[in-house]
Point group: C2
Chain length 363, copies 2
Amino acid sequence: MAESGSNAIRFGILGCAEISRKVARAISLSPNSTLHAIGSRSLEKAQTFATTNSFDPSTKVYGSYDEVIDDPEVDAVYVPLPTSLHLQWVVRAAEKKKHVIVEKPPALDVKELDVMLNACKANGVQYMDGTMWMHHPRTKIMTDFLADSQRFGHLKAVHAIFTFLADDYFLKNDIRVKPDLDALGALGDVGWYCIRAILWAANYELPKFVTALRNPIRNDDGVLLSCDAALHWEDGKIATFHCSFLSHLTMDITVIGTNGTLHVNDFLIPYKASEVSFKTASKCWFTDKALEWTHKSSEQVVSTDLPQEVLMVKEFSGLVDGIKFRDLAPEMKWPTISRKTQLVIDAVKVSIDKGLQAVEVVY
Amino acid sequence: MAESGSNAIRFGILGCAEISRKVARAISLSPNSTLHAIGSRSLEKAQTFATTNSFDPSTKVYGSYDEVIDDPEVDAVYVPLPTSLHLQWVVRAAEKKKHVIVEKPPALDVKELDVMLNACKANGVQYMDGTMWMHHPRTKIMTDFLADSQRFGHLKAVHAIFTFLADDYFLKNDIRVKPDLDALGALGDVGWYCIRAILWAANYELPKFVTALRNPIRNDDGVLLSCDAALHWEDGKIATFHCSFLSHLTMDITVIGTNGTLHVNDFLIPYKASEVSFKTASKCWFTDKALEWTHKSSEQVVSTDLPQEVLMVKEFSGLVDGIKFRDLAPEMKWPTISRKTQLVIDAVKVSIDKGLQAVEVVY
């Protein structure tokens, strides 16, 4: 894999979103990547953004997104734009042979996403959505636990939560509450992580049915601020999630198998970037007279030199490097799980729109 | 309050259930209580049970339940019989002026429970169900957290889980899978705790609607082995629970408010009887660029000299003592929350039986 230098993958960023600050830093910290350009609809805004965030003076600053994707030196773009703009810019970037990391949710529905994915495929570029926790080394270790027939057994139930308490400014102004920008609201933003977590726990087996739960909360423009849903598999597995902009910051995955249980309470953004933990329990039972447990869950600590967002960029750039320099094909895992997540998002939305009917998920 | 001795409340136990071993021990350890009698339909079984469990030789051993409730020296009975027998024996005990602790679920439905509660009321005896964790000092401390408008804020969502992996013997023979004994199956057994936890978190405000989730699992006799439901309040609060005999031992309550979150992973039987913990988080947010959390949840450890089942007996005997020696009235908190829990159980059952319709909960 290329180290930062002449072979480093050169990124352009489309837009000065808050999340761009985090990803720009991640690109700079990733050993095989470099921040080449930032573009905004306003050159002044892009310049201020570059200065405020101490971008290297060599970083190109553009007053349009087109200039970023037209720059022949840009290998890959990061697209943190409002969801309603993803289709247009991901397709245009792919057509210019730019590899793409797109912020979640990637699309307003899977029909849009398929256009994007087809454009990436047709142009041989790597697609990845910006679900950073997938790249944390903890995730791999937890995956191994869930795959362990002795320690975990067969998956039976998952519960996922992502909530944060949006302030008044957010609830009035953030793109995630605007019907023309991020029409999926809390479902697309915080719900995305819950659904991804559930699919991850199910080894990406899609549920057969999805049912939204009663009383989703919307703002005056009809954008979801809070909702819940249940996912059902044919073998009896069940998952539920709760996502909301209206409750204290909470991010849990609880996964229960026949032999074991996994708990993680900071799954998508770690309490501490350098060191996280999770808890597993296996084959617990009660002592005589059910006075207490035979043993409690054990906590496992995972350290990482590079934060998960850097590992995401590094993983992506490694794949781009393979395509660019070693004639490899794009890694299909990332578009595949992105599409599955979007399919479930769509099903939850349809269920809500159809008065909480069970909606069949068709791949 | 009377100390163990002449004024100690004298208990009779109806039946040699496995749980009777735990409660007999609790009665012996409680400073204001004494185990006076054990009765079984078989005298031999009762004698063996008394010997095996090292009951004090002064403990009376009867070959019928009637002899226990007819014993004028018995102040209170503990009823661990199968649920289908609760109505008969609680009413008969109350009519003999015996105070009653009844194992959960107290009844097959609230109509039955009301007959039992009316009998207790008419005879001036204390009623309490055997939900032991209500009496752990941790529960009071967690209650205080949930009542704190600064640290916790307004309740928004609860998720409760109680599952354990029943073995083949249990699934074939346990009373909890027999339609004529404990027809409510997993809902009445493990689901009871989830529902009580949710009501506890909601300060016992009943939900307006209850909806069972898809695909409850039943055995060949139609008894529930696993089910899920959602509870909905008019102010938008939501709770979900998962209860099952088919998954690894897990017992979680997650409670989310506007300002804080509570996590407890051993809520109904503590990991260790003498020392437990729970986690709270308040006003968490992200650091700059959302790289990590401003602070993580904090764990609070609670020690207790007496295990929760002893504290249950002690609390109950204190109330009985007040009625017996100080002319106090029965404490209505316990029948009230028992009835509310049963009402929600009933609503889940009706929702399942009516194809997952939302069922209104009417007090």
